[in-house]
Symmetry: C2
Subunit: 198 residues, 2 copies
């Protein structure tokens, strides 16, 4: 690589640090940036540094936000007695898009994954428990339907049940619009187990 300019080499090395960006992609991005207008490159660079330095965790639900308290936790019109537990901020956005949920959230920032060294203390679980005061009616566990997500859901449910707060789990089954032949067996057998009378 030492035939390229040292600046390009350094840029390729820096970009390769990012997830999903291998050496080839980093090269492509680097050469693209060299040909972009100066201001565009500066805008991307500034957006990166400013986001890194200014984004905070909401003091209540731990989602990423510009303020101490996120707009959802600060909203009096939301039902603060229902807490949906999710793995990350993107999941929050996915649920908000449905427009069907009026409660508040709790973002774990991960899921229990012993093989990766992520135990209950590595995610925001203590912070969830400390939110469970008398006013909370229900905790809806909406972690992913993966092994880690299910493990986390089981763990949380065991932790919360003794406190008397109602704990629920979002349903798993066949996605709406999904064609049966393309759906994996685990999902199909769960959909069968969870069948409802019509």
């Amino acid at each position: 690589m030492d035939l390229y300019s040292s600046y390009i080499n350094r840029l390729i090395a820096e970009l390769s640090v990012l997830p999903g960006i291998g050496n080839k992609t980093a090269q492509r991005l680097a050469f693209h940036m060299i040909n972009m207008p100066k201001e565009s490159v500066e805008n991307i660079a500034r957006a990166m540094v400013e986001a890194r330095n200014n984004v905070k965790y909401c003091k209540c639900c731990y989602t990423l936000t510009d303020n101490e308290i996120c707009p959802i936790c600060a909203n009096e019109a939301r039902d603060h007695k229902t807490i949906m537990v999710i793995e990350n901020t993107r999941d929050l956005n996915a649920y908000e898009k449905t427009g069907k949920y009026n409660g508040v959230y709790h973002v774990l920032h991960g899921a229990i994954n012993p093989s990766m060294g992520i135990g209950p203390n590595e995610i925001r679980l203590k912070e969830l428990i400390s939110r469970l005061h008398d006013d909370v009616n229900e905790v809806i566990i909406a972690t992913n339907s993966s092994i880690e997500g299910e493990t986390t859901a089981m763990y949380i449910s065991k932790l919360i049940k003794p406190t008397g707060v109602k704990v629920t789990r979002i349903a798993s089954g066949v996605p709406v619009g999904g064609e049966l032949e393309y759906i994996d067996e685990v999902t199909l057998s769960r959909a069968l187990d969870a069948r409802v009378e019509l």
Copy 2:
């Protein structure tokens, strides 16, 4: 998206400008950056701006370099009478890796592509012609084996031939180690046309 922080939204928008980075990838990168050490994010940002502002085109062959003249053009030991014409700096690197070429290069920065509005004046073709003085023995055209690359090769060869300089084109055929059954028909028929006696 307005539930995320405005900083994250801006970062996602900026990253989506890059080629091959859609909204989902931009989100993944943005959330990753938020969790990276401050200095790592600053290093990437700095590498981007510095590369954009400091990389130059070699005054001779137009490859990207830190100096006025690239290390290859500045190297007295290279054969300056043989010029290999390539589409971009990455191709130069690919040929240098072979260790088999001792001539110099000329980087076109593109190929003729009328449907994209890229004509002969949009690539560094004038600059190539102006290098063709008495001393040049051979111009090897090593543009890609795509329609654009072939068009460019034909165009250049027609332009140079009247000057009396020898013009050659790199061979196309079956890649070494390639299994015939997976190779497209055009490549196969070219390999057949260009067969050599053993």
